[in-house]
C-alpha cells in the first residue's frame, strides 16, 4: 500500500478489498508483537549465519561488516536465533524495562 492502512478511508478501498500492489506484505509490521529482542555480542559472533538460517521471519540481514543483524521491524522476539547460536552470542533482552 502506498500509505499505512490505518489512513485509508472506506471510499478508497478497491472493490472486494483486492490488493493491487504485489509484495505489500513487507509493510506489515510484525515487530510490535515482541516482548524480548535479540541482542548480538559481536565479540562472540563467528559469522556462521545460523541465526539467519533459522529465523522463521527472515528478519536477519548481512551488514557491511559481515554480521547478521535482526531487523526489529519484523522480529517477533521468538528467541530461536538465541537458542540456535552455537557461541551464545545472541541474548534475548526485554524490549522495554
Amino acid at each position: 500500500m502506498t500509505k499505512p492502512e490505518s489512513e485509508w478511508t472506506w471510499k478508497e478501498l478497491p472493490v472486494g478489498n483486492v490488493i493491487l500492489e504485489p509484495g505489500n506484505a513487507s509493510q506489515y509490521r510484525t515487530g510490535d508483537w515482541k516482548t524480548h529482542k535479540p541482542v548480538l555480542n559481536k565479540e562472540l559472533c563467528v559469522h556462521c549465519g545460523l541465526c539467519y538460517i533459522f529465523c522463521p521471519d527472515m528478519t536477519y540481514n548481512l551488514d557491511a561488516e559481515g554480521y547478521f543483524i535482526a531487523d526489529l521491524y519484523y522480529c517477533k522476539g521468538c528467541g530461536i536465533c538465541a537458542k540456535e547460536c552455537p557461541t551464545g552470542a545472541i541474548s534475548m533482552e526485554e524490549e522495554e524495562k
Partner: protein, 391 residues
C-alpha cells in the same frame, strides 16, 4: 414473443443457466434442489452447455469452487437447499466480501431438526446477513427470468455482488408450470459476457482474500454496506430493461388490490399466488383486503415498502420461518423496522405458516386475516402466532 412451454420449474431454471452461458457449475445434490443439478449435468454431458461441471464432495466445496472460478473471471453457478446451505454458509460471506457475482439458486427447505425435506424459509433466513442480493420469487417464470436478471445485476461494475434466487422447494421446484422461454438472441443481447473488474491472472497479479487488521476492517464493511444499498438503482434499471425486452416488469415490492385496502397481507415467495386468490375471495365478500409481496429481500426496499403499506390499517404478515426466541417471524421483524417511527403506521400482526411444507390454502389466509382483524378490533396493537398448531 418467446415459446411458451410446460416445464418443471427446476428444469426451466437449469435451461436458463444454460442460456446464460455459464462457464462453471459446481454443486452437490440435495433435495429439493436435485433436479436442477441433474439437468445441468446432462446438458454439460450432452455438449449442449459449453461449461465445466465440477462434481464436488460437499456443498462447502461447491461454493468454494465457484469463488475460485469467479475470481478468474468465469461466470459461475451453484444451487443448494437447507443442510447443504448450512454447510456452505461459511463461504457465502467470503463470496460477498470478495464481491464475486456468483449466482446461487436456493430451493428453500426446512433446516433440521427434526429432519424434514419440505419447504420453508428457515434456510434462507439463516444467511440473511451474508451480503448477497436476495430475491424471493413467486413462480417458475420469475425464477427463469431472474437467472438472467441476477447475473446482469450482479456482474454490473456498479454492483459486483453475488445473488441468491430463493424459490420454494417442491412448491415451485417440482411443479410443472407454463414458462415463456426467451429466444437466445435476446438473452445474449440482455446478458453480455462477464467482464470482471479484477481477476486472478498471471499477467496482472492481484491478491484476493487477504486479511484485514482491526484498523481497516470497519472501512471494508462500510464499503460493502454502501455498495449493496446503492445496487438498488441498478436493480431497478435492469428490471426495467428486462421488462422492455420481454414485457415482464418486476418491482421490489408488488401489490395486488392494495391501493384502498384496510388490511394488507404481506407475503414472500410462492405464498403470493395463493394469497392473491384469497384476496379475490375476500374482495368478492366486500372486504377491504389487499396483498403486498416482497420480491427483493436484500437490499431491503424500505421506501417502497412504506409507500405500499402506509395507508393500510393493519398488516397481516405471513412468515415462513421462526426466529426461535426472537421477535416473531423474520419478515415481520423487518416490516416493523421499516415502519418504526412512522406516524400512524399500520398495526403489524404476524403469523408463521406453512413451515416444513404444510399446505397453506386460500382459506387459511382468510382465517388469518379474520383472526388478526378481530383481535385488532378488540384493541390488540400487535400479534404473533404459529398458525394452525394443534393445541
Amino acid at each position: 414473443m418467446g415459446k411458451r412451454v410446460g416445464m418443471e420449474v427446476s428444469i426451466a431454471a437449469a435451461e436458463a443457466v444454460k442460456q446464460a452461458n455459464v462457464d462453471v457449475i459446481s454443486a452437490y445434490p440435495i433435495t429439493p434442489q436435485t433436479h436442477i443439478v441433474e439437468h445441468l449435468s446432462e446438458l454439460v454431458a450432452n455438449g449442449e452447455l459449453d461449461g465445466e461441471f465440477f462434481c464436488v464432495e460437499s456443498e462447502h466445496s461447491a461454493l468454494s469452487v465457484c469463488v475460485g472460478s469467479e475470481a478468474v473471471g468465469a461466470r459461475s453457478f451453484t444451487c443448494t437447499s437447507a443442510q447443504g446451505l448450512a454447510l456452505l454458509s461459511e463461504i457465502t460471506f467470503i463470496a460477498s466480501g470478495l464481491r464475486l457475482p456468483i449466482l446461487m439458486i436456493l430451493a428453500n427447505r426446512t433446516l433440521s431438526a427434526p429432519l424434514s425435506i419440505w419447504n420453508d424459509h428457515s434456510d434462507a433466513m439463516m444467511i440473511r446477513d451474508c451480503g448477497w442480493i436476495q430475491f424471493f420469487l413467486e413462480n417458475g417464470q420469475e425464477v427463469y427470468d431472474h437467472v438472467f436478471i441476477g447475473y446482469r445485476v450482479g456482474e454490473d461494475r456498479d454492483v459486483l455482488f453475488p445473488v441468491i434466487i430463493n424459490m420454494d422447494g417442491f412448491i415451485l421446484s417440482h411443479v410443472i408450470e407454463p414458462i415463456e422461454l426467451i429466444e437466445q438472441e435476446k438473452v445474449d443481447q440482455f446478458l453480455p459476457p462477464y467482464q470482471p473488474l479484477y481477476r486472478l491472472h498471471p499477467d496482472r497479479p492481484v491478491t484476493m482474500g487477504a486479511f484485514a487488521l482491526p484498523s481497516i476492517f470497519a472501512e471494508t464493511k462500510k464499503a460493502q454496506e454502501v455498495a449493496i444499498r446503492s445496487s438498488m438503482s441498478k436493480i431497478l434499471e435492469v428490471w426495467k430493461e428486462f421488462g422492455d425486452l420481454t414485457g415482464r416488469y418486476y418491482h421490489p415490492i408488488e401489490t395486488y388490490k392494495a391501493e384502498d385496502a384496510d388490511t394488507l397481507l404481506v407475503t414472500m415467495g410462492s405464498f403470493g399466488e395463493t394469497a392473491s386468490v384469497a384476496v379475490d375471495m375476500m374482495r368478492e365478500q366486500g372486504r377491504s383486503v389487499g396483498l403486498v409481496k416482497i420480491r427483493l429481500w436484500r437490499p431491503f426496499p424500505f421506501e417502497d415498502f412504506k409507500k405500499a403499506t402506509l395507508n393500510a390499517k393493519q398488516l397481516v404478515v405471513i412468515d415462513r420461518a421462526v426466529s426461535v426466541g426472537g421477535p416473531g417471524g423474520p419478515v415481520a421483524s423487518e416490516v416493523k423496522s421499516a415502519l418504526y417511527g412512522v406516524e400512524g403506521h399500520p398495526v403489524v400482526y404476524d403469523f408463521v405458516a406453512g413451515i416444513s411444507g404444510r399446505d397453506v390454502a386460500p382459506s387459511d389466509f382468510i382465517k388469518m386475516v379474520d383472526k388478526a382483524e378481530i383481535e385488532i378490533e378488540e384493541g390488540s396493537k400487535e400479534g404473533y402466532e404459529i398458525y394452525g398448531v394443534r393445541e
